[in-house]
């Protein structure tokens, strides 16, 4: 009998530990595994290092105080360029930051995926990230003397991804125009949990889409969570667009502690089935 990797969000959280380094797939406010992020917010997990092309995943974990350190190339809500909760945390000095060039971040994940301690690149030379990350080193090529940044591997304890579809064995399908670096996060991680809009039978992957959309193989996944509206309020095209109205409410909730508490009570501290109904209504404009 082949493995059935289906889990719930709470099962995933039960596999996490204080102090872990967690990579979160997607990009900005696009296809983020928000239902798992919300489950982390409802847990007592703390002291986390988050590695992400960040959006509200990073912002919420900053707002909850559970992120101790964030490794990022940017943190943005896309249609709202600056992530207000992340911004507040940086300005208050409540998180440690490793700020990288966007290309370097995926390069560090690739190094981890290859189990090498660094990969060389030109990106970073001359920029402030060399000063702001004093542990970064350069390396001189043994072939022609080129001096390059030695981007250190960014190994992850866990990667969290959200896909459009997955099967129960843990293969994941991406139906939108970009799967971002989800496959690289998975390869850089000890363990990977994928949430998805719908768990389908393996033979149905290619019923309506090409085999090239099955981007993450079960070789790299440890659990599958069926999570309809699991990326909401970030977008999960073609299943649904970003919920811009709710994103605006989320951004406004960074105003003060009361505003965040009110947002959290309505949109975080709720059981998933209730959340899905709220999300569907909100996306439909009924709020």
């Amino acid at each position: 009998m082949s493995a059935d990797k289906r889990l719930t969000e709470d099962d995933v959280v039960a596999e996490l530990r204080d102090g872990m380094t967690i990579g979160i797939g997607g990009w900005g406010s696009r296809r983020k595994p928000m239902s798992i992020v919300r489950a982390i917010l409802r847990s007592s997990l703390s002291d986390l290092t988050i590695v992400s092309y960040g959006g509200p995943d990073v912002g919420m974990l900053c707002a909850s105080g559970q992120a101790r350190k964030v490794v990022y190339g940017f943190v943005s809500l896309d249609s709202i360029p600056l992530e207000p909760h992340f911004r507040a945390a940086r300005q208050a000095g409540t998180i440690e930051a490793m700020e990288l060039d966007e290309g370097m971040l995926q390069w560090g994940l690739r190094a981890a995926a290859m189990r090498v301690s660094f990969l060389p690149c030109r990106a970073g030379l001359g920029s402030a990230i060399m000063e702001n990350n004093p542990d970064l080193r350069t390396v001189v090529s043994p072939y022609d003397g080129q001096e390059l940044v030695a981007m250190p591997a960014l190994p992850l304890d866990v990667a969290l991804l959200h896909a459009n579809r997955a099967d129960r064995r843990g293969n994941a399908q991406y139906l939108g125009p970009d799967w971002y670096f989800d496959d690289v996060y998975a390869m850089a991680a000890e363990r990977t949990f994928v949430s998805c809009e719908r768990v389908i039978d393996t033979e149905d992957f290619t019923a309506h889409a090409s085999e090239q959309t099955i981007k993450v193989s079960r070789l790299w996944t440890d659990g599958v969570v069926e999570a309809p509206f699991g990326a909401h309020f970030t977008h999960c095209v073609p299943d649904y667009p970003r919920d811009e109205a709710l994103q605006r409410d989320y951004a406004a909730s960074a105003k003060d502690a009361d505003a965040w508490a009110a947002f959290r009570a309505r949109w975080v501290d709720v059981p998933e089935p209730d959340y899905r109904r709220l999300a569907e209504a909100s996306l439909g404009g009924a709020r």
Binding site: S76, R122, L125, G126, A128
Partner: protein, 254 residues
């Protein structure tokens, strides 16, 4: 066309001019006016320029800005993973924004104040470090002021000429900050020490006004050229094809 061109139209043309001579490379313009500039260049004097929908699709023909339902001719697929391949290969010219920029073209989009604990956290460095040491980079500043054109930036995101030189030949090998386009004029670094020079001023902008809006001394050519005005064809393309909704007029705050 009988009416006078708008400042936004002049800035679009100035952005387009940044791509002159680029040939078959990928343009990655950030913002409305740079996006229109790249597409205008592609429709006029740089027909082989490559551009995307701002997302993962490389387009075979421009779509009207802001029209989400316009049919797209997709000529290639350009997800972010491919985009990094392009950046690191040198086949790209980006026009980025700049919260701050200094006389040698160092740019900041990351934060205001000390990076360790910023007064204002902005985007982070995004792709600026890699863009600037791998490909030609230009900047678009819609609000030219001494707060943007500063003696020294708070966090070097995009690398300028002095920092690229100091970082060694691997950093400077492919480094080029080409143009800075603002609401007042166009600036370049074609000077002996690569300090910022006025390339042209937009019609009606005086030397005193631009110097007063700049936090360091600009190199001034004699005479000071005036920025090229849009041709009738440029304006027709902007109004009828590229930006019928007129989004270009909303980006410059006056």
């Amino acid at each position: 066309m009988s009416d006078a061109p708008t400042l936004a139209e002049i800035c679009v043309v100035a952005c387009a001019e940044a791509f002159r001579g680029d040939g078959e490379i990928l343009t990655s313009p950030i913002g409305v006016i740079p996006t229109l500039g790249a597409r205008l260049a592609a429709l006029t004097f740089e027909p082989d320029l490559v551009y995307t929908d701002g997302d993962a699709l490389q387009l075979g023909a421009p779509v009207p800005l802001g029209d989400e339902h316009a049919p797209k001719i997709v000529e290639a697929w350009m997800p972010f993973g491919k985009m990094f391949d392009v950046v690191w290969s040198g086949r790209r010219h980006v026009i980025m924004g700049a919260t701050q920029i200094d006389r040698f073209g160092n740019q900041n989009i990351a934060c205001i104040g000390p990076w360790a604990r910023p007064k204002v956290q902005l985007l982070g460095v995004r792709g600026a470090p890699g863009n600037t040491v791998n490909d030609p980079t230009s900047y678009w500043v819609p609000n030219h002021s001494p707060r943007v054109f500063v003696p020294a930036v708070d966090c070097v995101s995009g690398v300028g000429y002095d920092r690229a030189a100091a970082a060694g030949p691997t950093a400077s090998q492919f480094h080029e900050v080409r143009h800075v386009i603002s609401n007042l004029g166009v600036f370049d670094f074609e000077t002996d020490d690569h300090s910022m020079r006025i390339r042209s001023l937009h019609p009606g902008v005086t030397l005193d006004a631009v110097q007063a809006a700049t936090g360091f001394e600009l190199v001034v050519p004699d005479p000071v050229p005036t920025t090229r005005l849009p041709t009738d064809e440029d304006r027709r393309l902007l109004r009828d094809v590229l930006d019928p909704a007129g989004q270009r007029e909303g980006e410059i705050r006056t």
